[in-house]
């Protein structure tokens, strides 16, 4: 298989899903003729036409609501919310409708809706276009959440999300668009709730997603040079979450660090730590650590944003302290 990047694999996954199932369609602002604001849906309009690739007005509530109504009546919509931050303008549709409709109706409807959103900081887009917005949805049962950090995971999780009968939010990290990878037949079958072990080590378990997965892996390389052996785990989905993969590693390392792009309050990292300390208390030889961003909005200026995001060197130094605790 040929190399492809994180940006381009999106359209490949969507096209494959659309070819496989005539009920799959794509809806969003400029997803069609223009190929997407990030060019992540280029070529789909040409192949599938305006019936299945629909450019919308700037109306996120209508986009998500339309996807819900279409899903309820048998279609399998993929809705794009251009930047994850814009989930704010359709939050009711996501949190009160999409997440709850099946439950409130006692299971009368299926909601196979995939909502794709470009996520995350590090590209100079400032406070309203950079939030790691996956954390907004953690306390809303009914939504599944995928956070792919590689080309393979993005392809595989997107296919899985589209095929899943429940709502799945797929966060595409916009600072990973240039990342390269290969899509093979295996990638098709990435289930929700299955972590991947990025590297194996014995001294500490580092859990990280998306942009931070890569920084964590780089930090692990540097730590290895110092003789510190780190496991790096990417859970790939936050709901469901593969607690067992983390616990399994903890049984060997007895130390846990979560690296995340978000501030601490209400984050997935904090929730993971709370679950792990509740369920695997005796495994810990040192305090669990969450390495995250400052409790501020995302600043614009490059120097400020770089300082805001956990850097490789900060990860290295905090993990080093953890290991020697």
């Amino acid at each position: 298989m040929t190399q492809i990047n994180y940006r381009k694999v999106i359209a490949v996954a969507i096209a494959d899903a659309m070819r496989a199932d005539p009920d799959v369609f794509l809806i969003g602002e400029d997803v069609g003729a223009a190929g997407g604001a990030f060019k992540t849906t280029a070529g789909l309009f040409e192949e599938f036409g305006p019936r299945r690739v629909r450019d919308t007005p700037i109306s996120e509530q209508a986009i998500v609501g339309t996807a819900i109504g279409a899903a309820m009546t048998g279609l399998r919509p993929i809705a794009e919310i251009m930047f994850a931050d814009f989930a704010g303008v359709c939050f009711d549709q996501l949190a009160n409708q999409l997440a709850k409709y099946r439950y409130m109706t006692g299971g009368q409807v299926r909601l196979p809706v995939t909502v794709r959103m470009a996520n995350g900081a590090g590209a100079g887009f400032a406070a309203q276009h950079s939030q790691p917005a996956e954390n907004w949805f953690l306390n809303i049962p009914g939504l599944k959440i995928a956070v792919p950090g590689t080309v393979e995971d993005l392809y595989g999780l997107l296919r899985t999300a589209i095929a899943d009968d429940d709502p799945v939010l797929v966060f595409e990290h916009k600072n990973l668009f240039a990342l390269k990878g290969e899509v093979s037949a295996d990638t098709l079958a990435i289930p929700l709730g299955k972590a991947t072990v990025v590297r194996e080590g014995t001294d500490v378990t580092i859990v990280a997603i998306q942009q931070m997965r890569h920084r964590a892996a780089e930090a692990a390389d540097q730590l290895a040079a110092e003789g510190i052996s780190a496991t790096v785990i990417d859970p790939r989905t936050l709901v469901p979450f593969d607690d067992e993969a983390v616990a399994d590693s903890l049984r060997r390392t007895h130390r846990l660090a979560v690296v995340q792009e978000a501030p601490h309050g209400g984050s997935w990292g904090a929730s993971l730590v709370a679950r792990m300390t509740a369920d695997n208390f005796t495994l810990f030889d040192a305090p669990p650590l969450v390495i995250g961003a400052d409790e501020t909005p995302v600043p614009y200026s490059p120097g400020l944003e770089d300082a805001w995001l956990p850097s490789v060197s900060r990860i290295v130094s905090e993990v080093r302290k953890l290991v020697t605790w």
Binding site: S59, Q61, I68, G69, M72, M104, T105, Q108, D165
Partner: protein, 332 residues
């Protein structure tokens, strides 16, 4: 503001048309259902809140009579009437409000969320305006498959001021989707009279901003509602796009169970009671010497509602463990 309407409007002036007994029967079923629900709440048999539609029956009955079973409908927390009009069984409606296992939603939804997908009642929504885009989506499915099914969203006057209304009408019009937006203008949003929240007199006029037809109809005249809906549904079915309809009516009861509605100007309720939709149709039927006579229709409906309530009262409570089901369909 609604013009003062004569006791009987044009469509009923010449007597009741064929099929009037069916329309009357539906209105009675709803009226008596709602009266019974009010009674259940008053007796403390139900907790939470409930929003009733006595006086507004002509809107949902007239509207749903223009639909075929494969057409879909969404409505609000004040949606008991609409869900019944679309065909949901009375016992399962009662059962849901009572929180029973045999309720439409297994007791998970309650009064504000009556849903019966099997009859095309796609859901009652408790967030003002939120179901409009969902009906747009149902219309999209119809158009996607070329089915000719029509989707109807029924909502209140107050909902015309929320963002989701705007986005839904615009998108439905751009895509010429088969959806009818039906405003059940009962003159109030909670305790606020329409004029205090809305700077125009005719809500149907907002249609122009979306390039779609806007129709106004006497919402207490079930035959008139039916006629205007039939026209809108016919347009939608053949691909001519959405319509906005304003049906003027009146909420004869408070906003919710705790509301004595003391904010109404003196005499307003009486004026509207004189134009009660059931009375209007019954009078027209009597004038035409209809068979069965309206009294028989009422009696049969009452018997039906009573029997349904008894069945619902016998339904078991849901198993507490059932609360953990129906979050996800696929394994989570």
């Amino acid at each position: 503001m609604p013009v003062e309407l004569s006791p009987a409007t044009a469509s009923l002036a010449g007597g009741a048309p064929e099929g009037a007994a069916d329309l009357l029967r539906q209105m009675w079923r709803i009226r008596l259902f709602e009266n019974t629900v009010m009674d259940l709440f008053t007796r403390g048999l139900v907790r939470g809140s409930t929003h009733l539609c006595q006086g507004q029956e002509a809107v949902s009955v007239g509207a749903c009579a223009a639909l075929r079973p494969s057409d879909t409908m969404t409505c609000t927390y004040r949606g008991h009437g609409a869900v019944i009009a679309k065909g949901a069984p009375l016992d399962a409606c009662f059962g849901e409000i009572l929180g029973r296992a045999g309720g439409l939603c297994g007791g998970k939804g309650g009064s504000m969320h009556l849903t019966d997908v099997s009859v095309g009642a796609l859901g009652s929504n408790a967030i003002v305006g939120a179901h409009l885009p969902i009906s747009v989506g149902a219309a999209l499915t119809s158009s996607y498959h070329g089915r000719g099914d029509v989707s109807v969203a029924i909502f209140g006057d107050g909902a015309t001021n929320i963002g989701a209304f705007h986005e839904s009408l615009n998108m439905a019009s751009v895509w010429r989707l088969p959806v009818v937006f039906l405003i059940e203008n009962n003159q109030y949003g909670e305790y606020s009279p329409l004029r205090s929240t809305t700077p125009i007199d005719r809500l149907a006029d907002r249609a122009a901003g979306y390039g779609m037809p806007g129709e106004y109809v006497d919402g207490n005249d079930v035959v008139a509602v039916h006629a205007v809906m039939e026209a809108a549904v016919a347009r939608a079915r053949v691909g001519q796009g959405p319509t906005l309809i304003e049906a003027d009516t009146y909420r004869q009861v408070g906003h919710s169970r705790s509301d004595p509605a003391t904010y109404r100007p003196a005499g307003e309720l009486d004026r509207w009671l004189a134009r009660d939709p059931i009375t209007l149709l019954s009078d027209a039927m009597r004038a035409g010497g209809a068979h069965p006579p309206p009294e028989d229709v009422e009696r049969e409906a009452a018997a039906e509602v009573d029997a349904a309530l008894r069945r619902a009262m016998d339904m078991p409570e849901p198993d507490p463990a059932s609360r953990l089901r129906d979050v996800y369909g696929a394994a989570a």
